[in-house]
């Protein structure tokens, strides 16, 4: 059971990357310019923020939670960035630290409400999301502000003239997560998501693991908000609207089980790339971009249904809990 489970998880990740590879092939053949560095840069810029959010959402989902406030956290971080991430290098560095800390605090609040308040994650994070949106509107009632042009160029153009910086950002997100995953905190997040009772019985600190998962989710959401800032050079309190659902869709497409405990951030990044590449495909085929939510919703529903087929095969209910 255990070994086949691990194989299954990696199979799902590979499947997501396979789907992405096919879509990318179609996209490049449809694109009037074909494969070129400029096309890859534009494409990866459109992917990066969602990929960062998908990583954050994955960590929360791995702990058997869900974060419906991830879009609002991103918007709040984006609005704060538009006030602080500009000026001298030290001011910019200070701004970036504050933005990331904001994400961590928002995530921490989510975690505390879920763990200490014992509220269901769906309700708790939905309500918290409304609060974060309200804060974002207070911070920046109408879109505007300033974000360092130099830093924006460095993050949204090509590094060393050969690799889109946004690709490095996504690789960086993976590089950031894997040491945490190997750390006892990361291991207990997955253990708690896999079986809370077993984790508790093994002496793991369940509460700490869950809170840490939400806080990490908040940090990645803030990084996503920062990246959107690099794209738009401004703050916008309504920027997060579509991102919550899309981050969950990316997680599901990437093969992470919404029931927790199994999955990978690498798969979720593939999920984010799949969604964004579909978006670009819709654009170049000549369909209205407004049709995109319809496609995203359909893809999400299909992906969730595929995930649920496992339940149909189960003969004994107890298998689910093993």
């Amino acid at each position: 059971m255990r070994s086949s489970g691990i194989f299954k998880t990696q199979g799902r990740t590979l499947f997501a990357w396979g789907v992405f590879a096919i879509l990318m092939g179609v996209f490049l053949s449809v694109h009037p310019r074909g494969a070129s560095l400029g096309v890859f840069t534009t494409w990866s810029n459109q992917c990066a923020a969602l990929a960062l959010l998908a990583v954050g959402q994955t960590i929360v989902v791995l702990s058997k939670g869900i974060d419906l406030s991830i879009g609002p956290i991103m918007a709040l971080a984006n609005c704060i960035a538009s006030h602080l991430v500009n000026g001298s290098p030290s001011e910019i560095a200070f701004g970036v630290v504050i933005v990331i800390a904001t994400g961590a605090i928002c995530g921490l609040i989510n975690g505390l409400v879920v763990v200490v308040g014992k509220l269901q994650a769906i309700i708790a994070t939905l309500a918290a999301g409304a609060i974060f949106t309200g804060l974002a509107l207070l911070v920046r009632p109408i879109p505007g502000g300033d974000i360092s042009v130099g830093l924006s160029d460095a993050m949204t153009m090509e590094a060393f003239g050969v690799v889109p910086s946004a690709v490095l950002v996504m690789l960086g997100a993976v590089a950031l997560w894997y040491p945490i995953r190997r750390h006892p905190i990361g291991r207990s997040i997955i253990a708690v998501g896999s079986s809370e009772a077993a984790a508790e019985a093994s002496g793991l600190n369940v509460a700490r693991a869950k809170i840490a998962a939400y806080a990490l989710g908040g940090v990645f959401a803030a990084l996503g908000g920062l990246f959107i800032g690099f794209q738009t050079l401004s703050g916008d309190p309504s920027i997060g609207l579509t991102y919550t659902l899309n981050s969950i869709a990316a997680v599901v497409i990437g093969g992470t089980m919404l029931t927790g405990g199994a999955g990978s951030v690498v798969g979720s990044i593939a999920g984010a790339l799949v969604l964004r590449t579909i978006g670009s495909l819709i654009f170049f085929i000549g369909l209205q971009p407004l049709a995109q939510p319809l496609f995203e919703g359909t893809v999400l529903l299909i992906a969730v249904s595929f995930g649920a087929t496992r339940l149909l095969k189960i003969k004994n209910r107890m298998e689910v809990f093993q």
């Binding site: 310019r33 670009s280 407004l290």
Partner: protein, 370 residues
């Protein structure tokens, strides 16, 4: 990191210099009576001339607004005319909704797909600096209109909103029977720079009328809201001697009819319903228009830029307006068109070919690509 940033900034500035030349010599720009250089504008936008036919894109943001739909229809109608078909090889129209990231992605996609020019109404005018720099790197012509972006390295087209509301307020106050009394000012969405500028225009006129008392209400440019706040103002303050409304002014004429308010001078927009009510009920006043014909003007400017013409970085448009006494059916209002139809279909001062008949617009049934 900063060293790298500065380096990148320098490189992009150098690349920018090749593709387009910006200078501050105030030479004669293209059609200065139509694309009026804005006050204080010193920057000239000009690109190297290119051979046609051109691939042009129009990127709209918000959808479901009659003005925007008519704007898109006008652009299509204009591009469809035989004399323009030769220069515009391809026209793509997309509406991306209220999501600024989606709009930026659309503009980026068009830049990468090698389109020659992109005209757009920004959802968020502060978010396009990076896009503008990417367009300048590839030599793509960007034209921002209606909601001009905060970046003077591309052509931006918009009415001068201070002058716009000044014309309106002046006409209302001059048509009032006395130079004293009470005026209702119905404002737009708060925090928006257009509302701010229009309010300044009203204030400038009113500063010459010290005996006029002003009551301000917020109508959000929406007919329903305008009607409600106007009715409320009638209920609280009784009668007014003049009404100055930014947009959604059919709400004013509706509220006046419902409350049997005397026919005092009203200044408002150019939607068919409002103009029809003004002319039909003989309400003195004025209709001042920001026409959806701004869309074709932006596309024509984009084509002229591709042909090597020069423009001011900020171009203001003429301000079509008509007082009630001069309103003629079939010219200033259309009994058979819907109330939301914009009666000024284009800017006649910019050339006869910039005006459209309702029939011509109606043939462009698909407002957006499908």
């Amino acid at each position: 990191m900063t060293a790298m940033g500065t380096l990148l900034k320098r490189t992009s500035a150098a690349v920018l210099g090749v593709g387009l030349s910006l200078n501050t010599v105030s030479a004669e720009t293209y059609m200065p009576n139509c694309y009026i250089p804005a006050e204080g504008n010193e920057k000239i936008i000009q690109y190297d001339a290119k051979e046609g036919p051109y691939r042009v894109a129009l990127v709209n943001g918000h959808t479901g607004i009659p003005w925007r739909e008519q704007m898109i229809q006008s652009v299509r109608a204009w591009a469809d005319r035989p004399e323009n078909k030769e220069t515009i090889g391809e026209l793509r129209v997309v509406s991306t909704g209220p999501d600024v990231a989606a709009q930026i992605a659309a503009v980026d996609n068009f830049i990468q797909a090698g389109y020659d020019a992109i005209a757009f109404i920004a959802v968020n005018p502060t978010a396009f600096d990076a896009v503008v720099r990417r367009a300048n790197r590839t030599g793509t012509v960007l034209v921002s209109f209606d909601n001009p972006v905060d970046n003077d390295s591309i052509l931006r087209i918009t009415p001068n909103w201070v002058d716009f509301e000044t014309i309106k307020a002046k006409s209302v106050l001059e048509q009032m029977s006395e130079t004293s009394g009470r005026v209702l000012e119905i404002r737009g969405i708060q925090g928006n720079s257009t509302d701010r500028d229009r309010h300044i225009g009203v204030e400038q006129v009113l500063s010459e009328y010290p005996d006029v008392e002003v009551i301000e209400v917020v109508g959000n440019w929406d007919t329903g809201t305008v009607q409600r706040v106007t009715a409320d103002a009638f209920a609280v303050h009784g009668q007014f001697d003049g009404i100055i409304c930014q947009h959604g002014c059919r709400g004013v004429t509706n509220a006046m009819a419902a409350a049997d308010h005397p026919a005092v001078p009203v200044g408002g927009d150019a939607e068919n319903g409002y103009v029809k009510a003004m002319a039909g009920n003989q309400i003195p006043g004025i209709s001042v228009s920001v026409s959806p014909g701004m869309g074709p003007l932006a596309v024509r400017a984009a084509v002229a830029l591709l042909q090597g013409e020069s423009f001011p970085s900020m171009a203001n448009l003429p301000i079509p307006n008509v007082e009630t006494a001069d309103m003629v059916a079939g010219t200033h209002y259309y009994p058979d068109e819907p109330d939301t139809f914009e009666t000024v279909t284009g800017y006649a001062a910019c050339g006869e070919d910039m005006v459209f008949t309702p029939d011509e617009l109606r043939t462009q049934t698909h407002a957006s690509d499908s």
